[in-house]
Amino acid sequence: MSGNKLKTYLGVSGVVGLVIVLHFVGALKFIENSLRGLVAPVSQELYGISVKTGGEDEVFKSIEDLRSAYIEVVAEKSRLLVEVAELDQLRVENNMLRQSLGFFTSTTFQSVGANVIGKNLDPVGSTVVINRGNNDGVVVGNPVVTENGVFIGKIARVEDRQAVVRLVNDNQSRVAATVVSRDRSIGIVEGGYGISIRLNFIPQNEIISVGDVVVTSGLEAGIPRGLAIGRVEAVEKESYQPFQQAVLTPLVSLDKLSLVSVINKIEYR
């Protein structure tokens, strides 16, 4: 490489390096916030269209498929009604026992509602951008849930008025979880390259079944217990492995998120 070319490469690298340094010292905040302010409305509009036009979750190939799915849903509904009745009874009993033992009666969350305004442009992760940030009390590590309380991920990066949520199916996502079953198996839910979610590190001797619900275990700081993550779709058990794994189906479509809440304070009463 000739001297001039080397100088050019070094010069341009120097300019890029300077921009990076200025970003980290916060000297470019005004420019960054202005750019975000200009791009965010467009991004939000486009993301909204993508959620609306993203197609249905389930496509039925025939009337028969639709009919059998309907029969399954009706059966599931009856089963759930029985379960709800049992749960109501248990809730009353639980409250009475807690009162008599002087336990915390409930856990309350303080949360901030947010709109999803975009998703990642980066092939390396599975993330979404929300319109709440530092100014709204959001910090890195806060859990994010949908409007019906399903855990979808954690805050990975915060700016003044925006934050990036790392979704549960992201490759680097990890959260302590437990299976709602007789054994109450504890494990870690890990993302699988943006396309799957797995519950790992479940001891071999514990029984988990297809259909079991997986919730956050509360063993991780800042993440309350009991936020639903997904349902067990398949169990992978090899006799020579110390642990078994479960493949989970998320309870919400992670491609169609629009309204979410960031839990930024947990109180035990």
Binding site: K5, T8, Y9, V12, S13, V15, V16, V19, I20, H23, F24, E32, L35, R36, L38, V39, V42, S43, L46, Y47, I49, S50, T53, G118, K119, N120, L121, D122, P123, V124, G125, T127, V129, A156, R157, E159, V164, R166, D170, N171, Q172, G192, Y193, G194, I195
Partner: protein, 178 residues
């Protein structure tokens, strides 16, 4: 005053380009969502304007893109800017015949170099694993193919049009001696 208008036009153009990238990523079906709008427009700018300014335009456009990524700030910025610098040198020194097929090769090499640098930095930073890399390689291949084909198509069409509509060709056709 004219310079200020020019600056605003450049900023507006960059924002439109980033919005174009968002539009493609959010609304195109797979695998077409891998099409790199920013590279497509900037490579065409390089080919038609032959200006080194493209390096700094890339810096500004990818600065905005960085605000929508999860990898540490600087990875996309550095990889893209150096790719445009290499691309500019390739265009001025290697692919000098200005044909549509050299535009395709140039675009493919630029996107390829960008993603190679990106991958190296992501690996060094510990943000990728073997599984992610396999998935990323697939989308990078689509990105390079779609972007370079689109650049090649535009260069081909514009070269045909500029040839057919050039004054000398029109003159010959209109006043062809019988």
């Amino acid at each position: 005053m004219r310079e200020i208008f020019k600056l605003f036009a450049v900023i507006f153009g960059l924002i439109v380009m980033v919005c174009g990238q968002l539009l493609t990523t959010y609304l195109s079906p797979r695998p077409f969502d891998n099409f790199n709008v920013i590279f497509f427009i900037l490579i065409l700018y390089l080919i038609f304007r032959e200006s080194g300014l493209v390096v700094y335009l890339s810096l500004a456009a990818h600065f905005t893109v960085e605000l929508y990524t999860i990898t540490p700030f600087g990875i996309v910025l550095y990889a893209s800017t150096i790719s445009f610098l290499v691309g500019y040198w390739l265009y001025r020194s290697v692919f000098t015949n200005k044909s549509w097929y050299s535009a395709i090769i140039l675009s493919f090499m630029m996107v390829g170099f960008f993603r190679l640098l990106y991958l190296v930095m992501v690996w060094v930073g510990g943000y990728a694993s073997v599984g992610t890399t396999q998935l990323m390689l697939g989308s990078f291949a689509y990105e390079a193919i779609f972007t370079s084909c689109a650049v090649g198509l535009v260069v081909f069409v514009s070269s045909r049009l500029s040839f057919r509509l050039s004054p000398s060709v029109l003159n010959k056709r209109l006043f062809r001696p019988k």
